[in-house]
């Protein structure tokens, strides 16, 4: 025997009263095409803005711009008919894959505003607005603020939207489709109160299955109010479950949950150029748009890029027509301006064999971009400036050219330090933080003490160490060193310190040297050593 538990009022309320923000992107295929063209430099100057534009699918116009509409082109017209009305009409074929990518990109960016975003193909996104009250401020309501932010974010990505907030997916979506742009519609009513808001909308706003919609229209039910006035039982009797569902939608009752979109790969953005570009300036103009979009998508997911890839497709008439750049970033970042700085550096140093016909910018590697907890006295702008300059330097000079030195417990002077990552003193090196007391990383003694600087400060070391020791010739009398021949010059030795013997560790390359600090006339204090192996003298550094 199966027990059917009655839904508690709280659960029932939660199921039906979920607030949903619907964003509808009217004429998405057309907006996508226009957005791609805006990203192309010089397009605006070269192209005639008055050329009417339409997007067609299977020989029929699915969207057209205001210029085309002014010339009599209508959505649904046959292409031949549209061309008859407007001879100079430019028809672009529809591309569902690119439209879907555009919707997915916007959905990713909107994850910054809502925990769940559903893609309602072909032209809408549905956001969970149940936490919008947290955005409420004095004089504004949270849902209106959320809708305004979503519209602004979409506008930043080059897409114009209509927005509506209501209880239930279908109600919000229907209201958004028929909302007066750009003001968002916020329907305050709870579950079941949507009938009044939907009453004046056409039946097509409910997005019913086509056969049912056609039958309702055939019965003369043109508006939602006509449907909602009918008795529930009659509809159930005549149209079955589909009729009942349509009636519930007309009443504004839609307890179905959102189906959240979960991005399954790192984003990339593409820029197709109609005419190949030869100089880096216009290319950077286009790349800026790509960076903005990509950063918004990544930022919505709470990630920061650590490595970017830029593929430049060169003029296809030339052989070897692709150049790929890998761009490593100093810290995870979703800041488009920082990416652009690095791209500018890399492109500035690049000599392309042919003009660029297309560019694909992608995130190859990403890491969580953690919000920084600042303390009193911290300088966030200084950190930002530091990251920018480190990124620029690393991009131009290579990662190995920048380092923070870490002292090592080695007898050989050349190995007494190693290059480590520079973290601006904010993070301690993991190895240094976990160092074993009195033992080095490989078990040898003294690393910790060396990090504290004790033995080194006790010793005297030159400020400059020559990359390669220079040979010296010793001149003396009676066993005393009186002069040194450095190259072709003979210089008098004024003073000499006692020897400091440095020998190799038992595990390292063997060496045996006696180091002296010598004050040499006309040169200053130098660090010289006598190699015990062959007895020769070498100049190794300067106490500069």
């Amino acid at each position: 025997m199966q027990l059917e538990l009655p839904a508690t009022p709280a659960i029932a309320e939660a199921r039906v009263s979920r607030r949903v923000l619907a964003l509808c992107i009217p004429d998405l295929p057309l907006q996508r095409v226009l957005r791609a063209r805006e990203a192309i430099p010089e397009r605006g100057a070269r192209a005639n803005p008055r050329v009417p534009l339409a997007v067609e699918r299977d020989g029929r116009v699915v969207a057209c711009d205001a210029e085309a509409r002014a010339r009599g082109v209508r959505r649904g017209d046959a292409l031949v008919q549209a061309r008859a009305a407007c001879a100079e009409l430019e028809a672009v074929p529809a591309d569902d894959g690119k439209d879907r990518s555009a919707l997915e990109g916007l959905a990713e960016a909107l994850l910054a505003l809502s925990p769940a975003v559903e893609i309602a193909w072909p032209d809408a996104l549905l956001l969970d607005a149940s936490g919008a009250h947290l955005l409420a401020r004095e004089g504004t309501d949270g849902e209106g603020e959320l809708a305004a932010r979503a519209i602004a974010l979409a506008a930043d990505l080059g897409l114009r939207c209509r927005a509506a907030v209501a209880s239930g997916r279908a109600t919000a979506r229907a209201l958004a489709r028929h909302a007066p742009a750009p003001t968002p519609v916020v329907h305050e009513g709870g579950a079941g109160d949507g009938a009044a808001a939907l009453a004046g909308l056409p039946i097509s706003a409910l997005d019913l299955p086509s056969p049912l919609e056609e039958r309702l229209l055939a019965l003369g039910l043109g508006q939602v109010r006509d449907l909602s006035r009918l008795p529930e039982e009659t509809l159930a009797h005549r149209f079955g479950a589909a009729g009942l569902a349509a009636w519930r939608l007309a009443q504004g009752i839609d307890p179905s949950p959102l189906v959240p979109y979960v991005p399954d790969r790192l984003p990339e953005e593409r820029l197709d150029l109609e005419a190949p570009i030869e100089s880096s300036g216009p290319l950077l103009f286009g790349l800026k748009r790509l960076c903005d979009r990509l950063a918004a998508r990544l930022g919505g997911r709470g990630l920061g890029a650590t490595r970017l890839t830029l593929a430049l497709r060169l003029d296809p008439r030339r052989p070897g027509n692709e150049v790929r750049l890998e761009i490593a970033l100093a810290v995870p970042s979703s800041d488009a301006s920082r990416w652009l700085l690095v791209l500018r550096e890399r492109l500035g140093a690049l000599q392309l064999p042919a003009a660029v016909a297309a560019a694909v910018l992608g995130v190859a590697e990403a890491a969580p971009a953690r919000a920084e907890q600042l303390a009193l006295g911290d300088r966030p702008e200084q950190y930002a400036a530091l990251e920018v300059v480190l990124t620029r330097l690393a991009a131009r000079l290579g990662d190995g050219a920048l380092f923070a030195a870490q002292l090592m417990d080695r007898h050989r002077p050349e190995a007494a330090y190693q290059a480590g990552a520079f973290a601006g003193g904010r993070r301690r090196n993991a190895k240094a933080g976990k160092g074993r007391r009195g033992r080095g990383e490989d078990g040898r003694p003294g690393d910790e003490a060396m990090e504290a600087g004790l033995p080194i400060s006790a010793l005297v070391r030159p400020t400059r160490l020559l990359p390669r020791p220079q040979p010296l010739v010793a001149l003396g009398e009676g066993g005393r060193l009186t002069a040194l021949r450095v190259g072709t010059r003979t210089l008098r030795v004024l003073a000499l310190s006692p020897a400091e013997r440095l020998t190799s560790e038992w595990w390292g390359d063997p060496f045996d040297r006696d180091y002296h600090r010598a004050r040499i006339e006309g040169l200053g204090d130098c660090w010289i050593f006598r190699d015990a192996g062959d007895g020769r003298l070498w100049l190794h550094g300067f106490f500069d």
Partner: protein, 258 residues
């Protein structure tokens, strides 16, 4: 207790600066930073190295100029600041740096040395890096040790060779004029960033548009420092100071037998 008083003063200054930052007013930095050695500060106009301007320390390979620079870096860094050292010669030896009070974790070393680039390009990259570091404003002090004299020597060799072979003069890509332009850019970057910019040069090296120039030379008794040039008071040496080497020095024995 002077030490305690100094800490309190630093804390109050820090809080003032914090309020200034919150109120979005421009930071108020001291115009000069001490070199860490009072004798050298006494030689410098304003009592220290100027901020937002280039200062030059010229001297031979063991004249003590690097020690003065490291001491100044340590002073400019304080307890939280950052400093950078553009090591175009690849000779800076970090084990000695700590003895001047410099925290290695907060010192960015930049070595733009790549043999495949050649001397000319390496110098160009080093100067570019110095300019970027200075202009960023993220560093309290930036020291620059760039071997521009190697490029100049090469340029002279190429000029002579071109004259001898009576062929079209091939001048190095980094000639004197472009070097001067780069120095001017360095000065502008220092003014923009507001940090201390210290140029390490040779006695007869390139002329740097510096606000203060110290000449250091090693003598039998130690290091001799003199102020050779100051903005608004160009001309002959004004003051001289003779002291020991800034490097920690063990006892040197003139009669020691090697």
């Amino acid at each position: 207790m002077p030490e305690n008083t100094r800490e309190i003063r630093e804390t109050i200054d820090g809080l003032r600066e914090e309020i200034r930052r919150i109120e979005r007013r421009p930071p108020q930095r001291a115009c000069f930073t001490s070199s860490g050695r009072p004798e050298i500060d006494a030689l410098l106009p304003g009592g220290g190295f100027p901020r937002g301007a280039l200062a030059e320390l010229a001297g031979g390979p063991a004249s003590g100029k690097t020690g003065v620079v490291l001491s100044a870096l340590a002073h400019a860094m304080g307890t939280k600041g950052l400093a950078a050292f553009v090591d175009g010669r690849g000779e800076l030896y970090p084990p000695a740096v700590t003895s001047f009070g410099v925290d290695l974790a907060r010192l960015l070393a930049v070595r733009p040395i790549a043999p495949e680039r050649g001397a000319c390009e390496s110098v160009r990259y080093a100067l570019w890096a110095a300019e970027a570091l200075l202009a960023s404003g993220a560093f309290e002090a930036v020291a620059m040790d760039v071997p521009v004299e190697r490029v100049r020597a090469r340029e002279q060799i190429e000029r002579v060779r071109a004259r001898e072979q009576i062929e079209r003069a091939r001048v190095s890509a980094l000639d004197a004029a472009s070097l001067d332009r780069m120095f001017l850019r360095l000065r502008a970057a220092a003014e923009k960033g507001g940090g201390v910019a210290l140029w390490l040069g040779l006695p007869q090296g390139a002329r740097v548009p510096s606000a203060a120039r110290l000449e250091l030379s090693a003598g039998a008794a130690g290091v001799q420092v003199r102020r050779a040039f100051a903005r608004g008071a160009a001309g002959a040496p004004l003051t001289e100071w003779q002291g020991t080497s800034p490097c920690p020095s063990p006892s040197l024995d003139a009669s020691h037998a090697a």
